[in-house]
Symmetry: C2
Subunit: 355 residues, 2 copies
């Protein structure tokens, strides 16, 4: 969804967009994405109510299905716009609960399929500014009000499968075992140590064993996920390489050993945001909270801005969220911080328009 307000230049130019997403996660939150769109509406209203005339067109984008919660593909619409996801692939994504419903059938049913091209050539943008809650604890812990986002860190997701052999816990000596749960535990501990050493992140969120598991049976196999992140692609490479080597060594360490397989699920390279856009946000933030009130920050998570940045000058503005919690009913950003974020968004856009 695009909304645009004409600027004063005689020929319309691609609009300076304020974009984010209105869709959310099943259990929350009320700010992740929504704040960026609601603040953009507030900015546009403020310009209109005050009769403020920008040079360039200024507008709003609500990017459909950023979360991928109902139609399982995250950052969908911005991915289509940036040419990373084919339109037909996005259209045919099925509802996870009712596969007879697709993105296309729902857009048609709701009257939102429209005739505006969702592409950077059909609907080009002059710039993209996104206000978003941080979704992490850095601003709160460092007592800063605004995060000026430098880019998005690289991340790579793996599924690791460790195969052994089920055996009786009471009758099978360690040396006769092929224990994938012990090996997987060692791999998780090792990936954490490797990431710590290299200043990167490595995290396991999913850990699965067969449903027939029991207290007195060694599991036959274990599957776990590994999420590696760092602002620098080369460091992600390095963590991956050390993990692969370490997992192979661990697989041979105990008893008869286990088999390990690591498959790549997602590869999202590092993104550097536009230096001019960043300067405009820095200027706005310094004016509003002083030079000590804001922080340079790299986005830990993926956002629509990661997609737009490949097609137009882009940056993001982060505001603190309580305890860094998101995707959760407890997700919270105070009214004061929301307002400060909206004001920073307004002034950044004005700065960019005048620049």
């Amino acid at each position: 969804m695009f909304a645009s307000r004409r600027g004063s230049l005689p020929n319309p130019t691609p609009m300076i967009a304020m974009g984010s997403h209105l869709d959310t996660q099943p259990r929350g939150g009320r700010y992740d994405g929504i704040l960026g769109v609601v603040a953009a509406v507030e900015v546009l209203r403020t310009l209109a109510e005050n009769g403020y005339s920008t040079h360039h067109d200024v507008g709003i984008v609500n990017w459909t299905n950023e979360e991928g919660a109902r139609f399982p593909k995250s950052m969908m619409a911005s991915g289509v716009w940036a040419g990373k996801i084919p339109l037909e692939q996005a259209y045919s994504l099925p509802d996870i609960f009712d596969p007879s419903v697709t993105v296309k059938s729902e857009l048609q049913r709701l009257g939102y399929i429209g005739d505006v091209a969702c592409s950077s050539t059909g609907y080009p943008l002059g710039a993209h500014f996104e206000l978003h809650i941080e979704q992490g604890p850095i601003l709160q812990e460092s007592r800063k009000k605004i995060g000026v986002v430098q880019g998005g860190q690289a991340y790579r997701w793996f599924t690791v499968t460790v195969s052994g052999r089920d055996a009786h816990t009471g009758t099978t000596p360690f040396k006769s075992r092929s224990d994938p749960l012990l090996a997987a535990s060692k791999m998780i501990v090792s990936s954490n140590a490797i990431a710590k050493k290299l200043g990167a992140l490595a995290s396991t969120g999913v850990f699965k064993i067969p449903p027939s598991s029991s207290t007195n049976t060694i599991a036959s196999n274990v599957t776990f996920t590994l999420d590696i992140r760092h602002p620098d692609d080369a460091v992600v490479d390095e963590v991956q390489r050390f993990c692969t080597e370490s997992f192979q060594a661990i697989a041979k360490e105990d008893g008869h050993g286990v088999k390990v397989d690591m498959s790549l699920d997602t590869d999202s390279p590092a993104t550097k945001f536009d230096t001019d856009c960043i300067k405009m946000v820095e200027k706005a933030a310094t004016k509003l909270v002083g030079v000590d009130g804001w922080l340079h920050i790299t986005s830990g998570a993926g956002h629509d801005s990661v997609n737009t940045s490949s097609r137009c000058p882009t940056t993001m503005i982060f505001v603190p969220c309580k305890d860094g919690v998101s995707h959760h009913p407890e997700e919270y950003c105070s009214p004061e911080d929301c307002a400060l974020g909206a004001q920073t968004l307004l002034e950044s856009v004005i700065n960019y328009d005048e620049f």
Copy 2:
């Protein structure tokens, strides 16, 4: 189920029993328990067919519900007989798939509720010999044919609950996390190292995280089981103590820390089998396979004999099973090893009868 053949002594004495169980696990096996009962029938038939007269009564016991697979309480009937499980508690155990069916209702329906007391006073036994597959790899790996069982090792089962806080894997630095999956992995690795150092066993068979888990979310909590075993109760104590200390330390190690709770589910102390019974099996085994053909062994798993040994002289005879596998469709003991086990059972009973 008790079956008895009269001996030649003028007054009947509590029978020398050959006992095991006919019930099994959903996916196997065909030998665990069944071999001991079928071999006992073969021994009694052999005595009858050859007109061999023992001094004492000799007989068979089929202990109901040793596995606890359908009615979830293992070693049930031998536990009732030994006075460890109240009869009414056993009777009222529900079928795990249809709780309207109980042990008592099924015994009644099948006509097997009987009027023979299942107790060591109502139906005393003079001794209890149990032939069983090893369920472990020790005999196969040491190329021995018979295991002369010294007793059952102690085992203690725990459920360990580790609580943290769900957080985004991309936006939450290590120092801000409370990651129970990482902590649980460290605990499993640590329990393994502690057990190895003390020559004991510590194993985790079950590892559970909330169903809402995802690749890019730190889990909020983890539950895993810990099964500690050693032939000596004091060593089990020691492993437990070191694990408790280590888990507490690990809980504080990373980020904001996690909470850990360890609850005891099962406590089965070490069992020493009867030295006279053991001597009778040693004598039989030496005759059949030579002094180098058998091994002293401690049962890693619980058996009906662990229960009978508290009420009458008891021991067990182990035969090798392929790759130590049991509770599995691949469970296998060769016809030759089954026969050798049955012959050892026969000769051990004869030896005990003459002793």
